[in-house]
Symmetry: C2
Subunit: 348 residues, 2 copies
């Protein structure tokens, strides 16, 4: 059972699921929008494939259905949120809205969000700021043991991503990368096809480098010390600045140990305070056109700007629907049956 689903039906379904298990209508609606946004852009790893795990996180009392976040402003340009284990997309959407308001007022602002659950795709929030005329940098720290620190054995860190977005000609330039060389999703895809991994992408159980996807137990940091160094700095900025350590608590089994939780730091700059916004957009457009007009490198089909493939996929999937793999369709069917909800209606 494979299938394609419309963006609206998929959002309806996610919204129904979260409301049925007890989430507020406001939060359920954001969860639906954020997950479907990732699927629309082709970032399927951060789309509805996460739904089953999110439901488990609710059952395990990791994700709080009725959080009471504490919001403070130690300085006018700084928003600090203790998220009370709120769903990441719900609290980060709130944080982004607050951030846009404060940055528009003061020229720049920052939002520190601590103790939320999984952030979802980080570009979802930086894009919101870019669409409001701001430049935005987002850093996300996780406790997930996905990647080793360079030189050390064992997966002890999250693949702490960084996203940066600015307004562009039509759509924003939207950059979003993990600090790992590749995602575990790519390793799993290589396992299915039998394709070898490139050197520097993954390590085996003992931390030794491997190009065999079947032997790969963890992904390696992007460029070795560069990726793991950046990931540690993201932990310092997103976690320690808010007083919510993740890596040390997990390694030393103190505090909340390795219990799932995430932190984020968002910084936004109101472009119009520094340069005419229309000129800025025109300059971004001129830059992207100049880059896209370059001759292709050998073996390259196309020159793509940050976020461009995502916007293209979004246009296509908005029209033709979102393809879901058979295993996920079955999982979602089981969820609708268990929760006695209208099943997800496929269009193909």
């Amino acid at each position: 059972m494979t299938g394609t689903v419309s963006r609206h039906e998929l959002a309806r379904f996610v919204d129904d699921v979260f409301r049925r298990v007890g989430m507020s209508a406001a939060h359920a609606s954001i969860m639906a929008d954020a997950l479907v946004w990732a699927n629309l852009r082709g970032v399927d790893s951060h789309g509805v494939v996460r739904l089953p795990r999110y439901l488990e996180m609710i059952d395990e009392d990791l994700m709080n259905l009725r959080p009471q976040p504490k919001v403070s402003h130690p300085v006018p340009v700084g928003i600090v949120i203790e998220a009370d284990r709120a769903p990441g997309p719900a609290i980060l959407t709130f944080a982004a809205e607050q951030l846009i308001e404060r940055a528009s007022q003061y020229g720049m602002a920052m939002a520190l969000v601590g103790r939320m659950t999984h952030s979802g795709a980080l570009g979802y929030y930086t894009e919101k700021a870019a669409k409001a005329g701001l430049a935005c940098i987002a850093l996300n720290a996780g406790v997930l043991a996905a990647m080793p620190y360079h030189g050390a054995r064992g997966a002890v860190m999250g693949t702490n991503p960084i996203s940066i977005a600015v307004p562009g000609g039509d759509e924003p330039l939207l950059f979003d990368m993990a600090t790992s060389a590749i995602s575990m999703g790519k390793v799993m895809a290589a396992r299915r096809t039998g394709a070898p991994l490139e050197p520097g992408w993954a390590a085996d159980q003992d931390g030794g480098p491997t190009t065999d996807a079947k032997a790969a137990a963890m992904v390696l940091p992007l460029g070795g010390p560069k990726g793991s160094g950046l990931a540690v700095m993201i932990e310092c900025l997103a976690s320690l600045l808010g007083g919510h350590p993740l890596i040390a608590d997990a390694l030393l089994d103190t505090g909340e140990g390795s219990k799932h939780r995430q932190n984020a730091l968002l910084i936004a700059i109101d472009i119009a305070k520094f340069v005419d916004l229309t000129s800025f957009r025109a300059e971004v457009q001129r830059l992207t056109e100049a880059l896209k007009a370059l001759p292709l490198a050998p073996g390259s089909d196309e020159i793509l700007l940050p976020g461009e493939r995502g916007y293209r996929t979004m246009k296509q999937r908005s029209e033709k629907g979102i393809p879901l793999p058979p295993a996920l369709v079955a999982e979602l069917a089981a969820i609708s049956a268990r929760l006695q909800l209208a099943p997800l209606m496929m269009i193909g």
Copy 2:
């Protein structure tokens, strides 16, 4: 003629050289401190090896000996500097001082610096902020044609670096990376030893991948689209936000074309406004100790935190002197002869 020189004698020499060619005593002193700082930390690519080129840049009227920068504050938390082609270290040191003052007052601040010359080692400025109790992010955009955009043929971008520093237990955590996979310095070292490059590190004249250092004409972006995407976002933030485009002007040969100039964006956050500074330092210390206590990966000798090797080298070279390669010693001797300055006194 090889040699080792004390940090003070090397600083004396650089200071003499810049004052002799007409730089102000204040700027010459900063140039000496910044270049020797890089050598002390073992970042020799950003140390006195740059002196001959800096002198050429003065002769070519690219570096302005008597700049008159324009400083404005469109918002209280934003410092905007049109550098009037000032020497990068001089104007960035000024920007960092202003930034530290404003961030300490408002909780966070940013400094946009446009139209300066080569920045020098970016960590020099973020470290200053970290030593003042701030977290600091610095982005640097250059016009140097050092690296291709992913998928395109030809070296069209700078290796736009990012540095992040936070206060730590003893010394700051000091992260500083280029957005290229490696530096051209490493390629040149491999040419001398004949060692092969790793795949993904460099490309030949036609943009095709090569592991032969002799055939390598440019370095490749870190992780392909990740590195070149990050470099483009740094151009948007450091250059376009200040109204000083570099890449588009160079590619389209408009404005100042590919004439040497650089831009930077510095962001600083006053940690004590958000969390107790002593606790923050203790948490950074706890994190670094937990990481350093991890078992080693196969083939690894040691686990190093961002900046750690630099601090160790600095201690060693402060005591034992800075080693300079023979070719550089000869170049510096020629400079002192030409400018009729006291020659650089070696200690070994």
